[in-house]
Symmetry: C2
Subunit: 365 residues, 2 copies
């Protein structure tokens, strides 16, 4: 499962990296991420779905199994939620040794304005049996993982599935879901890591036993060693990111900036509670200052903007930011390693060279 | 400029690969690529542009320098063109040794329906002087490359710039350009590699001498050795790609398919002329069969669909496809190496395992 520390990224991971993509960090400037800039992680292939033939089945421990067309779902009461979605593997490629999977640095995030039907509304229409303990979501995407041929499946405890937050979304940013985000229907669970938000949804099954499929029992668990059962990966831990200031070098992405006042900006989020503090360091984490943070987000797990006026003096600097949420959880300076490379929310580090003369600085932020 | 053959991809290239992205090959099914699936290569950062303050300057060797607002451009006669765009570096990471830059495999392509004003219309409004030899395009994106701080700039010979094909596009697929594709205005030069299609356009300058800036004289030239002047990279050489059949393994992307008839499908294009033949091999290029190809594209450089009925028998196969254009140019089996890793159109190779039993095959195409 893991690669040697010093080694480069092998062909398998490169194949994943050329398909999937993060959000270029300058796109943190948009409160809602434009389509095409939101991060994407697709386990198998994007399935081809004919929306007129497609149906959503609701079955299992329910009183009235349902088969719903897209038109029937669109006729139900619609809800819109702003939700920040982050891949559970964000930060994986910064772990040492690097677990072998999609090699994210820090950019596997995006915020969408999702419109659809409350899952609870559909579950109520089907009538959950009292013996249902979880709700299982099955996508139309199919592949092999860990040697097992499977459709992509994830479950939620009944109490989460019936909370007011969970959506069956058919629109992103005011238009029909793009193919790559789950057309015609996907699950959106605000505050939970990306893998929870099953795309290309075909079936919702109320189950009487906890789901023990690959994506629940094997993948997406925090383990120090392969033989541990591990804890499930669920809600996003707090993270802040900044728009790298100045201008980049094409190949190294090294940043150059002119001297003087520079407004550092970014976003911060947590899946459990609002962000209550963002701090900024210009010396690699040795000292910290307090940034201004937007008030509570409109919904749990939606990111909040932050800003900090930095007086940039000539020389080399390592900028960092770190967020603290209302539970007191704060980003660590160093990541905690786990076999799957999940939930690495160690602080972002941005090396910046500040020039002597303002004229060679590129555009100011 | 180049990495050792056996080595993995270093952090610099991984940083590029997590920002930029190819088109997942199953998206070859769409004649026009949905927004977010089209490949993206962004040299520096996506600039933030206020469309109300933005102006297009037209200057240099012209009789009437112009400054045009977006509203003024939108009031001019509009044209829509379907154009296939491919990164000049597509295939780079399959070269040995691998030139150090964005590490594309084969997926750096997409087809857009671009709407805007014919460049020739704007040049005529400004009145080109007789001494103009090239038209230079400057974008708002700024960075450092080869040690030189620069705005992204590329030029076209006057005879190409004044041809009917070239667009100043403000829409992609019927909506305003997304930020990542050059909002509010970009150049679209059908048939030419992606770097020609300058994004975030701010200035068009008619020049009396050939432009010798970084992106023209240093980058995007075919060289066998660094000290050669090299030939400029211009029009796309022929290429065909197939939708990989069957289902993938998440990590290795290895494909599994059930036995029996399987329709292989894909697209093929060339920047100089229509595709006249696509051939398919199921034995790694030892023998070839002829695929059915759609008739001539609506415009030069737009891709054409193709299909081939393959009788898949159990075992391991290497599928290949190769295109020939109307000039007689055909994709090679092995790439020709060059220092920048440009224009590698060697045939795509897709390893497929065909199972014994149909039930373990995944969905048929």
């Amino acid at each position: 499962m893991s690669d040697s520390a010093g080694g480069g990224v092998p062909m398998e991971e490169l194949q994943l990296a050329t398909r999937n993509h993060g959000m270029p960090l300058e796109a943190l400037r948009y409160p809602v991420t434009p389509v095409g800039l939101h991060y994407l992680l697709i386990h198998y292939d994007i399935p081809a779905i004919d929306p007129s033939a497609w149906r959503l089945r609701v079955d299992g421990c329910v009183e009235r199994p349902l088969e719903l067309s897209l038109a029937e779902l669109r006729a139900m009461p619609a809800t819109t939620r702003v939700a920040t979605m982050e891949c559970a593997g964000n930060g994986r490629a910064l772990l040492d040794p690097r677990p072998a999977s999609q090699p994210w640095l820090v950019e596997a995030v995006g915020t969408g304005e999702w419109t659809g039907v409350a899952l609870d509304h559909v579950l109520a229409a089907a009538g959950l049996d009292g013996d249902a303990v979880e709700v299982l979501f099955t996508g139309a995407d199919r592949g092999v993982e860990g040697g097992i041929e499977q459709a992509y499946q994830r479950s939620l405890p009944v109490e989460v599935a019936t909370s007011a937050d969970v959506l069956l979304a058919y629109e992103l940013n005011g238009a029909a879901l793009p193919p790559q985000h789950g057309f015609p229907l996907r699950v959106v669970v605000p505050g939970w890591y990306g893998m929870t938000n099953v795309k290309w949804l075909t079936t919702i099954t109320a189950v009487g036993e906890p789901f023990a499929g690959y994506q629940q029992a094997t993948a997406y668990r925090l383990r120090r060693a392969e033989d541990e059962v591990g804890e499930p990966v669920e809600r996003m831990v707090p993270r802040s990111l900044m728009v790298p200031p100045g201008i980049p070098d094409f190949y190294t992405r090294a940043r150059t900036l002119g001297p003087g006042d520079c407004e550092l900006t970014g976003r911060a989020w947590s899946g459990t509670s609002p962000i209550v503090a963002v701090e900024v360091s210009a010396d690699g984490g040795a000292s910290w200052d307090t940034a201004e943070v937007d008030p509570e987000p409109p919904a749990v797990g939606a990111w909040q903007g932050w800003r900090f006026r930095w007086h940039a003096v000539p020389g080399d600097h390592e900028l960092c930011c770190r967020a603290t949420d209302a539970t007191g959880a704060r980003q660590p300076l160093q990541p905690e390693w786990n076999t799957g490379g999940y939930a690495n929310n160690a602080v972002q580090r941005v090396a910046v060279h500040v020039t002597d003369a303002a004229q060679s600085s590129g555009p100011r932020l």
